[in-house]
């Protein structure tokens, strides 16, 4: 039996859940979805790819809670150490995966991109290396979003729903306060046909001028990788990736971006990806349609000049 931890937020099941359900189904042997929350029985009907749903409800699980969800998941899955458990390599899964591993004493593999008989493939070193791990018996895999097609897990069906009593959660020391929606920016980068996207290769804030000039000439928006936002050089609304926005422009020009898995998650479905990066081993070239290892400080102004 393969167990899939269902991820949902604001009453909506996240795509990563369907990716995992689809993959689990293709592996054979039965799929059980683990659904934690409060007032979420309605979501079970959207889990048609599963054979069973284990439903665990408690007021303490109304909103995702790092500690309460770990405790509830561990209680639902107690004794299932010989099984395969799939969680998303997401903000929520990054609490539950290690949490289950610690409580159940099961091995955990993070950043999983593929699973086949007896072997789990995962990504390391910012996408510069892949590793295969041998597995026999039970394990927990924390699955990278975008590794499997979500459609394969969006199936009609009426899984058998079994309610499981929640453990005592009165001693939980983490308390949910509120969800804060992201602030809208001056431009919506998800709506632009062309994005000039800049990464740490740009070195400093002043140098942003050259990519801004290129973006202006192309009537494109400037987007970026996470470090640019962490440095406060561009607004959060410009960030592409796991913790930023998912974009699908006609043309995505990646300038000085290495292509870490968290960035790739946000842009790999762009129609045409062009990467400028001096490191020929940069993972971005695995996803780009066109690439160059020429220096961005030479190429970018030259493109602007020709437009």
């Amino acid at each position: 039996m393969i167990y899939v931890i269902v991820e949902h937020i604001n009453g909506k099941i996240e795509d990563i859940t369907y990716e995992m359900l689809g993959k689990a189904k293709s592996m054979g042997g039965g799929v059980t979805a683990v659904l934690l929350g409060s007032g979420v029985e309605g979501l079970a009907s959207q889990l048609g790819a599963a054979d069973n749903v284990l439903l665990c409800q408690s007021p303490e699980l109304t909103e995702f809670n790092p500690q309460a969800n770990c405790k509830a998941a561990a209680s639902v899955l107690a004794g299932k150490n010989d099984s395969i458990i799939l969680v998303g390599n997401t903000s929520m899964g990054m609490e539950i995966g290690p949490g289950l591993s610690a409580v159940l004493g099961m091995p955990l593999i993070s950043y999983v991109t593929d699973i086949s008989d007896g072997s789990v493939t995962s990504s390391l070193y910012g996408g510069k290396m892949s590793v295969q791990s041998a597995v026999d018996g039970g394990y927990i895999a924390s699955v990278m979003a975008g590794s499997f097609p979500a459609e394969s897990g969006m199936l009609e069906g009426s899984p058998n729903v079994e309610s499981v009593e929640a453990p005592d959660l009165s001693d939980v020391k983490v308390h949910f306060v509120k969800l804060i929606e992201p602030e809208g920016g001056d431009v919506d980068i998800t709506q632009k046909e062309v994005l000039v996207s800049v990464g740490r290769g740009i070195q400093n804030e002043d140098n942003l001028e050259i990519v801004q000039e290129l973006a202006d000439k192309l009537n494109a928006a400037l987007s970026c990788s996470r470090p640019i936002v962490d440095n406060k050089w561009l607004a959060k609304s410009r960030q592409v990736g796991k913790s930023g926005l998912k974009v699908k422009p006609k043309v995505y020009l990646a300038v000085g971006i290495s292509g870490a898995p968290e960035h790739i998650e946000g842009m790999k479905d762009a129609e045409c990806i062009i990467a400028i990066n001096t490191d020929e081993n940069a993972p971005i070239f695995d996803y780009a349609h066109y690439g160059t290892t020429e220096d961005l400080f030479d190429v970018v102004p030259a493109i602007s000049e020709k437009l």
């Binding site: 937020i9 996240e14 790092p66 770990c70 903000s91 929520m92 990054m94 609490e95 290690p98 949490g99 591993s101 610690a102 409580v103 091995p107 955990l108 593999i109 993070s110 990504s123 390391l124 070193y125 290396m129 892949s130 590793v131 295969q132 791990s133 041998a134 597995v135 020391k173 983490v174 949910f176 306060v177 509120k178 804060i180 046909e193 962490d230 609304s237 960030q239 796991k242 913790s243 998912k246 006609k250 043309v251 020009l253 045409c272 990467a275 490191d279 993972p283 070239f285 695995d286 996803y287 349609h289 066109y290 690439g291 160059t292 290892t293 020429e294 030479d298 030259a302 493109i303 020709k306």
Partner: protein, 254 residues
């Protein structure tokens, strides 16, 4: 309040990564190491609390033979009050479960209100340390944290989800936080100041034991993903390349 920050050295990804002879791990001999970038954020977050409210900041690292002294001196130069190296059997690849067990053994004696680690490291295969550490210590955890406000007995933190959505939580002390980003860009420390710290700082060595921790799974193969599989590499001078890029963009009807 007492804050403990765990840091580690990871391979600098700017360097070429070579595999060992058996193709199951990196060849570590020629690798350049640097502090995991998220650890810089964890230390910065701790120092910001110290600056604002006063706090005792201890930085701790497993002694894995990777030039960790340099990192600890830099932490002291930035403002850490105490630096500790956990000694023991930690050469080569150390599983995150083993690191968690060894670190928890020492951190448990330090009376920490808050323990902070980087949200993750690029070399981690069996899970992020913060949550494992919290379970070893028997305290709550929140990871992927971007903002921390401390009160007397608890902290209010922001946890980042996808799409820029944030969950706000309060967490009672003691607790472990996995830090994604500090509220400020991590402070820079000039080399001269690190040199001075090397003279005035005593790195405490405390023995640690990670034995008996779950060993996890075995790596059968490590390999470079097929680079350039999809990308057609544009050749020629920067001018030539620029001309080709313009052509490609135009061909998309832009």
């Amino acid at each position: 309040m007492n804050i403990v920050v765990a840091i580690k050295q990871v391979p600098d990804l700017v360097e070429e990564l070579e595999l060992n002879d058996s193709g199951t791990d990196l060849d570590r001999e020629w690798l350049k190491f640097k502090v995991n970038e998220f650890d810089d954020h964890a230390l910065e977050a701790a120092l910001l609390i110290k600056d604002a409210h006063g706090a005792n900041v201890t930085v701790i690292a497993l002694d894995n033979g990777l030039d960790i002294d340099k990192a600890l001196y830099a932490a002291a130069a930035k403002g850490a009050d105490r630096v500790i190296k956990v000694t023991g059997d930690f050469e080569g690849y150390v599983s995150t479960h083993k690191a968690a067990k060894a670190l928890a053994g020492v951190i448990g004696t330090l009376g920490a209100d808050l323990v902070m680690t980087g949200v993750q490291a690029v070399d981690d295969r069996d899970g992020q340390l913060a949550v494992l550490l919290a379970h070893q210590l028997g305290v709550p955890h929140v990871t992927v944290v971007t903002d921390i406000q401390v009160n007397d007995t608890s902290a209010t933190v922001h946890k980042e989800y996808g799409g820029g959505m944030i969950g706000e939580f309060t967490v009672d002390f003691p607790a472990v936080l996995g830090i994604q980003a500090a509220a400020e860009t991590p402070r820079y420390v000039p080399v001269a100041k690190v040199r001075r710290a090397m003279k005035s700082t005593n790195i405490e060595e405390i023995g640690g034991d990670g034995s008996g921790a779950s060993a996890g799974t075995e790596v059968t193969k490590m390999y470079k993903p097929e680079t350039g599989q999809g990308a057609e590499m544009l050749s020629g001078s920067a001018e030539d390349v620029a001309a080709k890029i313009v052509e490609i963009i135009r061909s998309k009807g832009i």
